[in-house]
Every structure is written in C-alpha cells, then in structure tokens.
C-alpha cells in the first residue's frame, strides 16, 4: 500500500531540481552531445584543412530545411498523428517561393514569405481536416496527399529553377552578429521561442500532448479532440512552410522533387530527437539537433572518401536503425 508520504515533495515547490531536469530531458541532452561529437568528427574528417566559421555555416545551411521539417513532424507525431506529405509540402512552398520571388525586391519577398506561411497553414489544415472528417488513418490520408501536393509542385515548376533576392537568401546563409553564429540557427531559435513556446505552454499545447498521450482521457478532460488534431497539422503546415522558405533561401532556387527525402528524414529526426511515435512524449528542441545530426553523417563520409552512393545506403540504414530503436523503446514501455 502506498501511503501519502511516499508521494513525496511539497505543494508547489519552487526552484530548479536538476536531477528531474536530467530525467525529463535526458534524451534531448544526449542528442546535443551527439551533435557536438559529430561536429568534432566533421572537423577531424576535414583535416588537414582547418575548420572555420564557413564550415559551421555550411552545416547550418545544409540542415536548415530538414530542421524545420523535423519541427513540423514533431508537433504532428506528439499529437498522435504522422504526416507523410510533409516533405512534399516543403517542396510546394519551395517552388512557390522561388517562382514568385524571382527578380523581386527584398521587401516584396518578405511579404510573399508571410503569404506562403499562411499557405502552409492552409495545406496542413487540409491534411488534418481530411483525416478528422473521413476518419481514415493519418498515414493513409497523408500518403495520398503527398501525391496531390507532389503534383501541385510539378505544376508550379517542372524543373528546378526560379530565384530569390540576395538579401532574402542571406536570411538562410548569412551570419548574425559574429560569423560563428549562423543566421539560420537564430531564425530557428526565434521561431521556437516566438511561435511554438507560447502554444506549448498554454491549453492548446497541453491539449496536443494530451490527445497524443491518451485520446480518451483527453476527451474526458473536456478537450475538443477533432479541433486539436487539426490544429497540430496546421502548426505542422506552418513549420513546413518555414522549411520551404528555408530551402529557397539556402539554395536560391526551387526544386519540385526533393520532398520524399525530407519526409523520411523528418520521421527519423523525430525519433532520434526523442519524440515517441506513439505520441504524447518529447519536444521540438531535440528533433532540431537530430536533423543536423542526420545531415552531418553523410558529409563526414564524403570527406572520408566513401562513395556517395554508399553514403546513401548508410544513411538509409541509419534511419531504419533509429526508427527501430524508437520502436523497441515503445515496445518495452508497453510491456
């Protein structure tokens, strides 16, 4: 029998309990340690060439679109869903941005960017709305929608092309204050703090975690489950749009068929980042680091002189292993 005393602690204890922080965020901390290790590996693989701020920026630029896609997938997976059309949505926004922004001024480009964020939210809302209205499993609806969005991307732009003003590209490729602080990383931090955190720590955020955790209990707690599910997809759509804009800024062009690579990697980043595929657990900070980890591995192998095709095999195997470990952890928890 458990007595009251065993429940421990005091009502409304103040201050930080470091042991609990580590217990709750251990996985995230681990992912950042892994990221640092991989960067050290990158420096080592680069030798004898010295690692400069330029190389750090290269890593940031390479991982930026995937980092946003991972954030998008995280919100959706935490809510108990999954979106297999995410990568293609990123591609749609990417080609839209590249075709609309070509030869425009920086100011206009920013306005277009805001408009495309709205488009991303609408696309996500369509995905979520279809899932809730039809009652068809998330994975089926979003797989079907990936073909729809994929077709839309090709209708907008048949081959890679388009462009964006230099100032807009600098938002993704430049540096902030010091050459060692990539602008992309700053933008991710701003989006996390200004967009996600206000949602996360209010009722909508609790509701998203709640429906992913125990849908029936969330319903009994008075949560509007359908609306919350759609909300998660809408937020995901916003982050996907950020990913598309980041792709435009970092590459300077639009590429209509980069989608599926991003989708698969976003799921891998979510799992590696500590989000449970069963929903309800994890955050967005871990998957961001995981996205950069997934980008670093093939780069290191290229520097080691490994055939890029092998690199693809190894990266694919890595994703399988990561997802498998996530699945095993899940299985153990259920037992």
């Amino acid at each position: 029998m458990t007595t009251v005393d065993e429940a421990g602690a005091v009502v409304g204890r103040k201050g930080l309990d470091w042991r609990r922080v580590v217990a709750r965020h251990g996985w995230t901390i681990g992912v950042y340690v892994l990221l640092v290790l991989l960067i050290i590996g990158y420096i080592w693989a680069l030798a004898p060439v010295t690692f400069t701020s330029f190389d750090l920026n290269t890593i940031a630029i390479g991982g930026l679109p995937l980092a946003f896609a991972a954030m998008a997938q995280s919100v959706i997976v935490i809510s108990g869903g999954i979106d297999l059309s995410l990568g293609v949505m990123v591609a749609v926004i990417n080609v839209l941005a590249a075709s609309l922004m070509e030869n425009k001024s920086f100011g206009i480009a920013l306005l277009i960017a805001v408009g495309l964020m709205v488009v991303g939210v609408i696309m996500g809302t369509i995905n979520g709305g279809l899932i809730v209205l039809t009652g068809v499993p998330d994975i089926v609806v979003t797989l079907a929608m990936s073909f729809v969005w994929g077709g839309v991307a090709l209708l907008i732009m048949r081959t890679p092309g388009g462009g964006a003003p230099g100032d807009f590209q600098a938002l993704g490729t430049g540096a902030f204050l010091s050459s060692w602080i990539p602008a992309g990383a700053v933008i991710i931090a701003i989006v996390l703090l200004a967009v996600w955190m206000p949602i996360r720590w209010r009722r909508p955020g609790f509701a998203i975690y709640g429906i992913g955790s125990e849908r029936a209990r969330a319903y009994l707690s008075g949560v509007n489950v359908s609306v919350t599910r759609v909300l998660a997809y809408s937020i995901g759509g916003f982050f996907a749009a950020m990913g598309g804009l980041a792709a435009t800024a970092t590459t300077g062009i639009g590429t209509p068929y980069a989608g599926n690579f991003i989708t698969l990697n976003s799921v891998a980043a979510v799992v590696l980042g500590g989000v449970s595929l069963a929903g309800g657990k994890g955050g967005l900070v871990g998957p961001v680091a995981a996205a950069f980890c997934l980008i670093l591995v093939p780069s290191i192998m290229v520097f080691q002189g490994i055939d890029p095709n092998y690199g693809q095999v190894i990266q694919g195997a890595l994703i399988v292993i990561v997802v498998m470990i996530g699945g095993l952890v899940l299985l153990r928890e259920r037992r």
């Binding site: 429940a7 009994l220 008075g222 509007n224």
Partner: protein
C-alpha cells in the same frame, strides 16, 4: 437528514406534483426519468430513475451489468441516452459531452484515473480550466502533499485518485460523481474521501457515490437507488446492518419480478434435466492447477484446481482480476508470477497458439474479437483445424465438412446467414465461438462470460452443451457476470476478490445471495465439507 427523507417521501406520494416543478422552491438537483440506452441489440438501460436532492449523499447500487456504469456515462456526457429525460434544478438538459456535463454543474471522478500521463499535474489542471488555487486548497484540507509540477505518470495510483477528487472539487460542482473511487485506495485515504463527502453535503451540495463495498454505502450515504437489469427497482435509506436487505433488492425480490424469474427458471430447468443430467460430483484427475498466480498490480495470488469432467464457476465483481486471470490462462498475457499446470505438465503459454496446442481454449465475451467476422461460418469453425490436421499438405475437405457439420448440429446454429459471421445474431455468433473448439478438440475450455447479452433460449443451449462437454470429460472454467447461472451449470464455485480466491463452495450452496455476499467481501465463505 429527516427533512431530506420527508422531501423524498412527498415526491413519491405525489408523482405528478413535479409537473409544476419550476414553481416549487426546493426542487430536486437531479431528476433522471425513464432513461434508456441500447447498444445495437443489447439493452444496457431499460428505464433508469434517479432523483438526487440538494445536500445529500446518494448511492447508486446494482450488480454487474445492472446499468450503473451506463447511467454514469450518460450523466457525465461520455455517451448519450436514447429516450427519457434528465433535469437539473427543474430544467431539462441534454448532456452531450464531458464539457456540457461540467457546465451543468457535474464533476465526475471516474473509475480509472483521468489525468493525462504525459502532462504535469498543474498542466492537467490548466487543461481542464480548473482553478489551481482551489485544487491546492482541497489538497491541503485533505492533508495531502503533492508537487503539482510532477509528471502525472510518476505519481502513484492512490494519489492520482485523490488528485482527481481535488480537481473535481475545485470545479465547485453541484453534484460530485464518485465512481468506485475507493476501489484503489488504502483505508486512510478512503477515510479522507468520506470526510470530503460529508463536508460537501454540509455545504448543501450533493454527491452521487458508486461503490461495490456496501459497508461504505451504509456508513456514508443518506439514500441509495438500486438498479437491476437496467431498471431502477427502488430507493431506500441505507443503515449499517442492513447490507443484506440491500443485496436482496439488488437481486430483485419484488413480487412481480420474483414471479417472473421463477417462471422462466423452472421452464429452463425442466429442459435442463432432459438435455443435461444434474451436476454430479467431479471425480476426474486435476486437469488445470493454478498456484499463486499473480495477475495484476496490487493483487494477491490466485490458486485453484480444475478437474476433468467438472465445470468450475468463477464469481467476481467487476475488476477483481478475473479478466486478467483468463488472459493469462489463454496465453494472451504473461502472469507476474505463479505456476500453472495442465494435465500434469507445467504450462506457461507465451501466445494463444501455444495454449491451444496444449488443449486450453478460450471462449471470450467479445464474440467479434474471436471470430473472423467477414468470413463464412464454415471457415470460422474450421480455422483452428489448420493448426493440427495437415500443416503443410492440402486441406482434407471431406474431414473438414464432417467436423464442421457435426459442430453446427451439436449447437443447432442457424445457418441462414452463413456467408458472413458478422451477419449472424449475437447468440449464433457465440455458438460459433464454441463450435470452433468442438471441431478442433480441446481438454480445457475457458468461458469468459459466454452468455453476455444473449437470449434465454440460446443460453440454455450453451449451458446444456457445456454440461455435455463436462460429462464427456472436458474441464470447463466458467466466469459469468450473471450469478444465478452459476448454480444452474457449475459443479463448484470459487469467488475471486482482488485477484485472490476468497471463497469456495459447491454449486448447491452457491445461490445468488451467498455469492454476492462473498463477492462483496461480506464474510468469507469457507469451503463446505
């Protein structure tokens, strides 16, 4: 308390006085009139009546399947009722969602913890728009210390129940619904719950209290409404020492119902004698031996012996671990600890497949779960055959036809809708789950509530068949939520309470009230002779 009782008496004397209810100052807090609910062909509630006055602690009682939880689900907005009216303070309301229930002033504490495990307690409170200060105040009043920033999944179960209670209280409801809250509580915490119930009453608010423990009801409740077979059969003032009177009411000894049930049972028994000889003492070897099998958290071990040629009844209230026990025996779940022996060999199946290979088969309550609903009768009956007859070679259709035909005849299954099992009636579906094992062969049959929601005629056929199987040497373990049936079909009965066998008796002594008393923990029944 006297005035409350008098108020109630007045309402009973003048049933139509409430037509002008809106003008009467002291109207009832909650009036449930003639509420019914059916799930497809199964009638869960026929006509529930419940009147809760302001400032009373009202108990809702009933045996398993009487409709208590259905009524609670309706009142808390989890499901909607089909017909009847629910009025709060004289105004008719429709409670369509948990959110609506909250707005009309109901706060429930459900049987299972309701807090979301991946949020902190404080986040759970904010999610449900609960006043955190209020919840904290109630926790302090109950002398409990909890860190509200703790993850809910890290908090022990009894404390979670208390948090659910504090959360419900902080919403300041007119009516507090407590569904089996004391089931998971140690006595010191249960005492705190009773204190809170009294305090709540003293504020002029009301509590609807649901508990299997009759001693708690008589000690804390002002009035009690009793449900039986989906109908409210009476309301009374429970007093300590009158537990047995309440049990009688739960069983339904009102004159008309008694006559009704005697009539149907004698009809049944006449046929019973013809189709299956009366139960006789089991003489076979022990077929299934269970020793100290621990099936779930906070449960003691189950021990019993099941002999060949015997039907052993299992009597238990809801949630005493009987479902886990059957899952363990059928290989669907691994026991925490303990030992199982089948026909002298140690038995620890990892999957249902292994259990079936060892001759231990399950007839579950949920028929659709056991069947291949989209496939024809023939394939459903023949499915387990392919484990044995020819594993790699072609299927012997002639042998299959013979076995299937025999099974269909033994159970007189209605084959008119044979193309898809899901189109069969519930009774025929249940016969199908039995027929599979007749065709495939077995030594030990586990029947978990096999007659749930089945008509009397089919019930009789199923029980006659179980008796025949036992005569032929099979060992049958039978759990049924319909206690009178135990005396009808079983040779011997064990009573399971909190995952342990608390009583054992021959079927002759196992009448409904004896079983109910034992299952409620009212005096242990010793093994007779």
């Amino acid at each position: 308390m006297v005035s409350r009782a008098r108020g109630y008496a007045r309402a009973r004397e003048h049933p139509f006085a409430r037509l002008g209810g809106a003008f009467i100052a002291d109207m009832s807090l909650l009036e449930v009139r003639n509420v019914a609910k059916r799930y497809g062909p199964v009638v869960a509630l026929k006509s529930a009546e419940l009147i809760v006055e302001p400032g009373e602690v009202h108990a809702l009682l009933g045996a398993n399947g009487a409709g208590k939880s259905t009524l609670v689900k309706i009142l808390t907005g989890v499901i909607r009722h089909d017909t009847g009216t629910i009025a709060v303070n004289g105004d008719e309301v429709r409670i369509g969602s948990p959110e609506r229930a909250r707005r009309v002033g109901f706060a429930p504490v459900f049987q299972d913890p309701a807090m979301l495990p991946d949020l902190t307690v404080a986040q759970n409170l904010r999610l449900t728009r609960t006043d955190i200060g209020g919840a904290r105040e109630w926790l302090e009043r109950m002398d409990l210390t909890v860190d509200l920033t703790e993850m809910t999944s890290d908090i022990p179960l009894p404390m979670l129940r208390m948090l659910d209670l504090a959360r419900a209280l902080a919403r300041d409801p007119q009516l507090l619904l407590l569904d089996e809250i004391t089931a998971a509580l140690p006595s010191d915490l249960a005492e705190k719950v009773f204190d809170v119930m009294r305090q709540w009453r003293d504020r002029g608010r009301s509590v609807l209290f649901i508990s299997h423990r009759l001693a708690e009801v008589t000690a804390t409740c002002d009035r009690a409404s009793v449900l039986r077979d989906g109908r409210t059969v009476g309301t009374l003032e429970p007093r300590p020492g009158e537990e047995e009177k309440i049990v009688e009411l739960m069983l339904g000894t009102t004159r008309s119902q008694l006559a009704e049930s005697i009539e149907s049972e004698t009809r049944e028994k006449e046929v019973e004698v013809v189709e299956a000889p009366a139960p006789k003492a089991a003489v076979g070897e022990p077929q299934l031996v269970v020793r100290n099998l621990v099936v779930g958290d906070d449960q003691d071990g189950v021990s019993f012996e099941l002999r060949a040629g015997e039907i052993l009844g299992v009597a238990a209230l809801e949630g005493q671990g009987q479902d886990l026990l059957f899952d363990n025996l059928a290989g669907e779940r691994k026991p925490r600890s303990g030992e199982m022996v089948v026909a002298g060999n140690p038995f620890s199946p990892r999957t249902p497949y292994e259990a079936i290979r060892a001759g231990v088969v399950l007839v579950p309550a949920d028929r659709i779960l056991a069947l291949l609903p989209q496939r024809p009768i023939r394939e459903n009956i023949a499915a387990p055959l392919y484990n044995r007859i020819t594993r790699w070679g072609p299927i012997n259709r002639r042998d299959e036809t013979r076995r299937v035909q025999n099974a269909i005849e033994a159970l007189s299954i209605d084959t008119r809708a044979q193309r898809q099992a899901r189109r069969l009636s519930g009774g025929n579906q249940q016969k199908l789950t039995l027929a599979r094992w007749l065709a495939a062969g077995f030594t030990t049959m586990l029947c978990f509530d096999p007659t749930r929601g089945i008509d009397v005629g089919t019930k009789r056929q199923i029980y006659a068949l179980l008796r025949e199987l036992a005569e032929a040497g099979a060992a049958v373990l039978l759990f049924t939520s319909e206690l009178p049936e135990i005396q009808l079909v079983c040779d011997r009965t064990i009573v399971v309470y909190r995952g342990a066998v608390t009583g054992e008796m021959p079927a002759a002594d196992a009448d409904e009230s004896a079983l109910l008393k034992a299952a409620h923990g009212l005096g242990t029944v010793e093994a007779a002779a």
